[in-house]
Symmetry: C2
Subunit: 113 residues, 2 copies
DNA sequence: CAGAATTACGCGCAGCGTAACAATT
DNA sequence: AATTGTTACGCTGCGCGTAATTCTG
């Protein structure tokens, strides 16, 4: 699928890129190495490019891999920020100007149903 | 899951929000209404908030739903931009400043679809 | 043998469609 | 009846784990 850029894949990719090895990423993610390997393969298949160069010492980023790595965190952060904004978990952003209005429009977490 | 913000869900959500109805979104997406309904339900479950208010005339955005809608396109665009950057499909973005460098590194528009 | 990744196999859940259903106009 | 959304059911594929395999130092 060309829509194959799923955030889950990107998260796994970022972990592998950072750890340098599949097993290391698997440990950090709490997953099995086989699962991580599969995720990377699917992401590569979905994108149509090779993200890593498989060496005997681990996974080394290719050029497209580096391009993705540079953008992965930004995208993941973006997604996480959206999630927080929607769920209402502002998490003390240093905006300051919202303190007074916030007292009036307290969203009460979950609503009906 | 807190990691429940998958891009597929957001795409479906955006379509529903734009169409106003599940069936309309399903047509636009080429999916069955049941699938769309399920996607929305899962997204809501993953986020823990109600995104729509089910009326007999269609789906009306709730406050969190509007919050997501305002950010959905940005996130999807971001993801798409990352995908293009990684695969090398620049596709004439109106950035302007890239025109000259682009002439040097024309990536030959890889196979799509 | 130790460490790396991959493959093979099985299980459970998610995604999808079709069909049937409930509710309102 | 026609519209909407949902549920039920079944199928396919993904995500995941465990175990086995391959390759190099």
């Amino acid at each position: 699928m060309l829509a194959g850029v799923e955030l889950r894949h990107v998260r796994v990719f970022a972990a592998v890129a950072r750890a340098g090895t599949v097993v290391g990423a698997a440990n950090q993610l709490g997953l099995a190495p086989a699962s991580v390997s599969e995720q990377v393969r699917r992401l590569e298949g979905g994108l149509g490019v090779a993200l890593f160069e498989r060496t005997l010492q681990g996974m080394r980023l290719t050029a497209p891999g580096q391009a993705l790595l540079e953008r992965a965190h930004g995208l993941l952060d973006h997604a996480d920020e959206v999630r927080r904004a929607v769920t209402g978990q502002r998490r003390r952003i240093s905006v300051g100007a919202l303190e007074m209005p916030a007292a009036t429009r307290r969203p009460a977490s979950t609503s009906s149903t």
